[in-house]
Amino acid sequence: MQTPGFRPEKAVELIAQLSIDRASQLLSKLVKTGARISLEKAYVTDLSETTARINGEEVQGEVIGAIIDVTGDAPFKFLFYAEASSCLLLTDLILQRKVGTAKECDIYVQSSVQEIGNILASGVCGVFAADFDIRMRPTPPKVVHDFLGTVFQEFVMETAAETDQVLIIESRFHLDRYNLSCNMFILPLPGTEEVINNICKTKFKGE
């Protein structure tokens, strides 16, 4: 039975927004410049449709992404990615070097993405742990350097085998002073949605 006043979409959006606010703070601290992360959408969709849309996005060249499996009470998969050229800039910012120093996608550039993914995924786990009393732990990030469609395919691969209907929380990053955007996807694994709904019913009752 639906709890009176309970709106699952609104609650999921609120959880996503809390996670994204936390991620903004962490990214700003890491790159030592203001990072704004906006929630694009939190929606249930067909994986195949999303994959087709991602494949159609106008991303020039390759991207570097960090895929993280988060284990625990409400497991999810986490993806952070940016165009390879943007990753060079991110590396210079993290290392506090003159922008333009990084010229090629070497181990440090890949490692920057790895570390951003790790820190952001940990931040999202922290929101769940602190605000909803759920225990979760990120596994070491897997870095993928390829075309966006391939990276996204890798991200959703295991989930797609189990179900086609998935909840996706999608957001976009902007760094002040720099023309750079990055993306973050949170993909709750089967069963997690139920946990989130239960939390929502108790935490956001009547909101």
């Binding site: 290392l95 490692s111 570390e115 820190i119 940990s122 931040g123 742990a129 990120p138």
Partner: protein
């Protein structure tokens, strides 16, 4: 003589950042490890005065590596490093015998403060 430090982290960029901070401030980074197993091998080989150990790593994680290092030398100084909001892992590391901890993203001052405290310099 400068204190000798081993850095264990699976992220090369973090190893580079730590190495820069430590060497500029007079410490000697004598080795680096990419995961827990490498960290233990380097610890046996180099006998460092201090180890900085990331917690989340592939193969063998930092907590298990910390336990193994303390089994080799119960007086070993190991500072664990973890991403923010990983309180459970951090508490586990402290219980396992970590000397101190550093939270990522880190500031230079926090790194130096933890290292100096470990050496009784603060």
């Amino acid at each position: 003589m400068a204190h000798r430090i081993l850095i264990v982290d699976d992220a090369p960029i973090i190893r580079l950042m730590l190495k820069d901070i430590l060497t500029v401030n007079g410490y000697s980074v004598i080795g680096e490890g990419n995961d827990g197993n490498e960290g233990i091998e380097k610890f046996k080989e180099l006998s460092p005065d201090l180890v900085t150990m990331d917690i989340t790593m592939p193969e063998k994680d930092g907590i298990r590596a910390l336990q193994d290092i303390l089994a080799i030398d119960q007086n070993a100084k190991v500072i664990v490093i973890t991403a923010i909001d990983q309180r459970d892992s951090l508490m586990e590391a402290i219980r396992a015998g970590a000397t101190d901890y550093i939270i990522k993203p880190f500031e230079t001052d926090r790194v130096l403060s933890a290292v100096r405290r470990a050496f009784g310099e603060e």
